[in-house]
Symmetry: C2
Amino acid sequence: MEVYEAALGRRSVRSFQPKAVPTALIQKMLEAARWAPSASNIQPWKFIVVKDPSMVDMIRKVSPGIFGKPTTLIVVCSDQERAYRLGGEQGRDYFTIVDTALATENIVLVAHSLGLATCIVKSFAASAVSELLDIPDHARPELIVTVGYAREVPKPPPKLTLNEVAYTDRFRNQLEMK
Amino acid sequence: MEVYEAALGRRSVRSFQPKAVPTALIQKMLEAARWAPSASNIQPWKFIVVKDPSMVDMIRKVSPGIFGKPTTLIVVCSDQERAYRLGGEQGRDYFTIVDTALATENIVLVAHSLGLATCIVKSFAASAVSELLDIPDHARPELIVTVGYAREVPKPPPKLTLNEVAYTDRFRNQLEMK
């Protein structure tokens, strides 16, 4: 699937079939995440693939942002220790958030191109997730990606138009279009 | 170009040819950015395409993270006012960073698939950039994407292996591979 088509066609899916995601596909999503850009190439990220049904269920219970019953979760964590050691306070407090988000977008785009459905979740009890997954103090769950096969793909949400969000040369200066 | 190939093949380029980027291609990058996922669909982003050579030059001078002479910059801003109005403090302080990063990854992947070279820059004097581009107080430049045609594409940087960054079911639990 073309990148442009994937970026426009990907939807946030909240309704899944009870069908496992093949390991080979998860591996491709993680490879794409691993090659995301990273400030000073610090790569302040860890990815936990949760497939054990009882663990998925426990995480669902502490995550108001998870809808439906995804068969797989990818918990995207920042590695605060590594980020601070290699990038100082800015590395720990800012680059971790940016870099894990960049990697997460790679995950959802590759997933979409492989026929999988995902949703990026920000609403979860981080401390409970950390405890369930044995995440050490020096790491932090930033985002959870739900992964599965869509039961239902929602229609595109309303989006601001290009003219409402983009400018040329100065803020509020009308975007030059082709 | 396949999404997976784009995610793995994209490099951060810091050396550009003096060749303008067609408006139609910039428009595709912005369309992809506009369709990025966004918490509660708030879309707390603004994109300023900087093509005026003297403006590009002035921004370069206040941006230690810009290398080479890109012909185009896309300044990715958060819209703090919108984020706070629709998402409260968490919206303003956290979702803005995540969502602008998700959109930025769409930009660089689509750019790569169109034969363009980019680099995501985090090191710049935000207040100077805001003044140059008339960015109001309620918005903030988060990231700058340099865009152009590569003069030289660097080799892939050293990356942590999949086993070093990914686990199954629990932190430090070896990743299940196909």
